[in-house]
């Protein structure tokens, strides 16, 4: 049952990802990207990462995509501007290099025996259930330091974004 859903989400993810990078129109690209984020959230659910699935939908498909759409609308690109930006220009070499990278990754997984039914099996244990409570404990105990640093990181981003988008220097 899980297997069938996995393949379903995998297909959805791949197709929506491909569509997201090939659409000429930035708005439809952003919408397809949102679909792919939802597919990822679906896989998270399958892997018992329930909290992350919610975060993925809220933050990515929600907040970040809205931000994208907002900026696209703000820029108010005219039709001729969009025409200049034709579809993707794929160079054979670029695709080959990307495929080479993927090949390297797959080869690594093979060498590590990750496709092996026994070695690579995903054990659905109780410890790895990513619920709010079970994630909160390590996040605020073990990983409180990165958490604090991340808060400064967000502060930097806020300060920077405000600085850069202010109208002009006088």
């Amino acid at each position: 049952m899980i297997g069938i859903f996995f393949w379903l989400f995998a297909a959805l993810l791949t197709v929506s990802g491909l569509l997201a990078i090939t659409r000429r129109n930035a708005v439809s690209a952003a919408l397809w990207a949102a679909v792919s984020f939802i597919a990822i959230a679906g896989i998270f659910v399958l892997l018992q990462a329930y909290f992350l699935a919610v975060v993925e939908v809220l933050v990515y498909a929600g907040a970040i995509m809205v931000l994208f759409l907002f900026v696209i609308m703000l820029l108010n690109l005219r039709e001729e501007d969009l025409q200049v930006l034709e579809g993707p220009r794929l160079h054979i070499l670029g695709v080959l290099l990307a495929a080479g990278f993927l090949g390297g990754l797959v080869w690594t997984c093979r060498r590590a025996g990750l496709y092996d039914a026994k070695n690579g099996a995903i054990k659905m244990t109780a410890e790895s259930v990513g619920e709010t409570k079970s994630l909160a404990a390590p996040l605020f105990m073990e990983y409180v330091l990165p958490f604090e640093i991340a808060s400064f990181l967000l502060l930097a981003a806020i300060v920077g974004a405000v600085l850069i988008t202010k109208k002009r220097l006088t």
Partner: protein, 99 residues
């Protein structure tokens, strides 16, 4: 379904994002592609975490999402600033700095 398949799926999405960064001229879609790549990595973390049976991977995804959000915010701010100055979002036309 093994962890190998999960990681491969994540690799496929990563590669799709990579191709997007390499081949698109619209800077907004380039940023979008980078987001796809970071999401692919999130998938890899969760996949490895499920395989290993611990939660550290999921914690890491948390930080990855934070960083992705921060980068997108800064990136989009620059796109707005660029558009104000040059009225374009075409990366090929943003090439004053070269040689």
């Amino acid at each position: 379904m093994t962890v190998g398949h999960l990681i491969t799926l994540s690799g496929v999405l990563f590669t799709i994002g990579m191709v997007g960064v390499m081949s698109r001229r619209n800077i907004l879609i380039v940023l979008l592609s980078v987001e796809l790549m970071l999401n692919a990595v999130a998938l890899a973390f969760v996949g490895f975490g499920a395989w290993r049976g611990n939660l550290d991977g999921q914690i890491m995804v948390f930080f990855a999402i934070t960083v992705a959000a921060a980068e997108v915010a800064v990136g989009l701010a620059m796109v707005i600033a660029l558009f104000r100055l040059r009225l374009t979002v075409d990366t090929d036309r943003v090439s004053l700095l070269k040689d």
